[in-house]
């Protein structure tokens, strides 16, 4: 890694750790309804909506509320896409979205995955972007916060049957955590150069004419072919460039803060209008980690021992470092085949060097590789460089980070509840080793809890591996592959890993906007989200009902280095056991071919 790469990495993690405590305390207080300015505002909403927000819910009712709310969201996102041509704010007259693509996008945005089978600038009207997609960027993130707060209540409370009120939790997370931060961030993005308007696309006259080939079409709009079956082309020249417009910055801000990751445009955060400067890029990375890290402090604060939160954050940070450093190293090494052609890939004062295919000049290697690790450690999935063009081991890094279950910072809320499930498993394993009943924060972990923990941990690998296996043998799956060889398998593997773990980034060469992939990945995203949330809430309910045991000489401390190491070991062990065979077939085979040449 270059000195510059170390500097940016330190600045990022330093900022995340500095902000975790103040924001964590704020979140704890907001979610407990301790600020009078907030309770007065939300009281108006509850009155208008006829919601009794003080009513405590049993975990099953809480889960049902979350499911119903998400189902409503999905239906609305689907409907709006299907009739956008009839609705206002569609200056480009973009057509109604196809049924399978709209289905996929609806589940994708409601499950906080934000996988994109479509290209924003040629598919979604401004109204769809705002009222369907921006809204779900907020609400899916708020849902994640609500679920983790419910789980934290499970640890903090004892001998009660309820875990809070879902409506109050979602409303508070949206209005008082996400909204103010998004407003601030959106304005900084505009100041840096991001667009925010409702104009039609702007045509400009370029300095030089561009000559290019397009396929020749007959009168029926079909491709014309010559006698040999080759497509006929015709030469065209243009001096016109159409600049895409839209209400971008407002969506960009919540896309990062809510670890959503769905780009306004196809190129996502590589697009200069979405991420114009290196400073906007740094803020995007910080925004991804900000809330997941702060929630660790909220957790420690709420269970009455802040060391518990710092221990979780330390485990996340160490895991992150173990992946980001080699990832950056391999990207900086570049591609030996280009070196053979005499291309200069060295890093020096005048150029970043390294593997620049799919990367932007302003971000170079350091801030692209760092972004790649951040966006996949957290379940964001925004990309500022094209992951399909990463070196083999540079591409293994985002795959492996997702495969650990999105618990290295992870999604907003989902990262911490995922990590707490691993903490329970770690405590259970330790308990087995010394022959004691496992307990975490004074709560005894029993058979029912372990069943729910197993479900929550095993559902995503099952979805990712079964989906990959089906797509890798089905004709409809194989036709989507773009790159030849082992890399083609990695494209499929990446897609299902990303969907099941609710990340949303892609090896984007895969042609995934087909009925086969739209339906398969849509199902993986929905189950990867809600088939985990339900057992997590069941654990929350079970924990809340338990008595709290006092600590004694036999209690394993869960705030020290020993526990941090145990937790890291558990996460890596489960991830490795599930995914090493798949990784061997994809990036590792490719790396062997890569180094032999």
């Amino acid at each position: 890694m270059t000195a510059h790469a170390w500097l940016i990495l330190s600045l990022l993690l330093g900022s995340v750790w500095l902000l975790a405590k103040p924001l964590g305390i704020y979140i704890a207080n907001i979610m407990a309804g301790r600020f009078s300015f907030a309770t007065r505002i939300e009281a108006i909403i509850y009155r208008v909506c006829g919601v009794r927000a003080t009513e405590e819910m049993h975990w099953s009712r809480y889960a049902l509320s979350i499911l119903l709310f998400s189902l409503l969201g999905s239906l609305f996102v689907y409907a709006l896409q299907r009739m956008q041509l009839l609705l206002p704010l569609n200056p480009q007259q973009l057509a109604n979205v196809s049924a399978d693509s709209a289905f996929n996008t609806a589940l994708s945005f409601v499950s906080n995955t934000n996988w994109q089978g479509y290209s924003g600038e040629t598919t979604m009207s401004y109204l769809t972007q705002m009222l369907a997609l921006t809204v779900q960027n907020f609400l899916s993130a708020a849902t994640g916060i609500a679920v983790v707060i419910a789980l934290i209540r499970g640890f903090a409370r004892h001998s009660v049957a309820s875990i809070g009120n879902a409506w109050a939790d979602i409303t508070r997370a949206t209005l008082f955590i996400l909204l103010p931060l998004a407003l601030l961030l959106a304005l900084i993005f505009i100041a840096q150069g991001a667009i925010q308007n409702f104009s039609a696309y702007k045509n400009v006259t370029t300095l030089e004419a561009t000559t290019f080939e397009t396929p020749k079409l007959d009168d029926a709009g079909q491709l014309q072919k010559d006698a040999g079956g080759n497509t006929l082309t015709e030469t065209q020249t243009t001096t016109s460039q159409s600049l895409p417009m839209g209400p971008l910055a407002s969506q960009e801000a919540i896309k990062m803060l809510g670890t959503n990751g769905g780009g306004f445009f196809n190129a996502n955060s590589a697009h200069p209008y979405e991420n114009p400067t290196p400073f906007s890029n740094f803020l995007q990375m910080l925004a991804i980690f900000l809330i997941p890290a702060a929630l660790c402090y909220t957790f420690g604060h709420s269970v009455g021992d802040t060391r518990q939160g710092w221990a979780i954050l330390a485990a996340m940070t160490l895991l992150f470092l173990a992946f980001v450093i080699p990832g950056t190293y391999f990207e900086q090494q570049g591609n030996s085949q280009l070196a053979a052609l005499g291309v200069d890939q060295s890093a020096n004062a005048l150029q970043p060097g390294g593997n620049m295919e799919g990367k932007e000049t302003r971000f170079g290697i350091a801030e692209s590789a760092l972004f790649t690790a951040v966006t996949t450690a957290a379940s964001c999935g925004a990309v500022n460089n094209m992951h399909d063009s990463l070196t083999p081991l540079g591409g293994l890094v985002p795959l492996a980070l997702m495969q650990m279950g999105e618990v290295v910072f992870g999604g907003v809320g989902s990262g911490l509840y995922g990590m707490l499930i691993f903490a329970l498993l770690a405590v259970f394993i330790a308990g087995l080793m010394i022959g004691r009943t496992p307990e975490y924060l004074g709560k005894k972990i029993e058979a029912y809890d372990m069943k729910m923990i197993s479900l929550a941990i095993l559902i995503t690998p099952l979805l990712a591996l079964a989906g990959t296996a089906i797509a890798a043998v089905a004709t409809q799956g194989k036709v989507g592959v773009f790159n030849p060889g082992a890399h083609g398998f990695s494209e499929i593997f990446y897609a299902f890993t990303s969907a099941a773990n609710n990340n949303g980034s892609a090896f984007a060469g895969l042609s995934a906007n087909t009925p086969f992939y739209n339906v398969m990945l849509g199902a993986a995203m929905w189950l990867g989200r809600f088939a985990v949330i339900v057992p997590v809430l069941a654990i929350a309910g079970s924990l809340a009902a338990k008595k709290r045991l006092s600590t004694n000489a036999g209690t394993m401390p869960t705030h020290g280095p020993l526990f941090v190491v145990l937790l890291i070991g558990t996460v890596i062990l489960v991830g490795a056991l599930n995914y090493v065979p798949g990784l061997a077939l994809g990036p590792i085979v490719e790396h062997l071919q890569f180094t032999v040449r």
Partner: protein, 190 residues
């Protein structure tokens, strides 16, 4: 169930209006007042004509202009209406072919260039719209541009220098040269 449906529906509508209508409108209004140029796309005007955006690269292939990154957008390069990377994997023969083709076109107009070819000049950007190249990629092209325009290399070097940005706030990102701004400045030289 009915006692759940009503709050679900009403909270959904209320939060949708706040985050999907009020919030983007508020950002638009403040953006228009505070940063009208940026919010509208940072369009560059010359003599009343819009010639491009500060942030969106353009395709250059004549020897008298500086060239930018390769662009994999379809059907033409630097199609701002359809951003895209090449998505070519590191071992894909198509990647090597496109690098070779680019080297050939660089050498066709500049056969005796002794400098090594910087990697960013032969690879496609992630967006396909990268407005910038590295200072090394600009230096590589100075002699060619100066010869094609029949001006001194010192004059072209000076323009490159003026259009080079260092790291932002001396910390963030890579040093870089905005290709469109540099080429506009070159055209004004005459």
């Amino acid at each position: 169930m009915k006692t759940l449906l009503r709050p679900a529906l009403s909270i959904f509508i209320a939060l949708s209006l706040i985050t999907g209508v009020l919030y983007p409108l508020a950002v638009t209004a403040i953006g228009r007042i505070g940063f009208s140029q940026q919010a509208a796309g940072s369009v560059i005007m010359i003599n009343g004509n819009a010639v491009g955006s500060r942030w969106i690269g353009q395709n250059f292939s004549k020897p008298e202009y500086f060239w930018g990154r390769l662009s994999a957008t379809a059907p033409q390069p630097y199609n701002a209406g359809a951003s895209s990377g090449s998505n070519l994997g590191p071992l894909n023969p198509a990647l090597i072919d496109s690098v070779k083709a680019r080297i050939a076109s660089l050498q066709a107009v500049d056969a005796n260039n002794p400098l090594p070819i910087p990697v960013d000049l032969v690879t496609a950007s992630g967006s396909g719209l990268d407005p910038e190249i590295s200072p090394a990629a600009a230096r590589y092209q100075i002699a060619r541009v100066a010869t094609a325009r029949k001006v001194s290399t010192d004059a072209v070097s000076a323009l490159v220098e003026q259009n080079t940005q260092g790291r932002q706030f001396r910390i963030f990102g890579e040093p870089r040269v905005n290709v469109l701004a540099l080429n506009i400045a070159l055209d004004k030289l005459h």
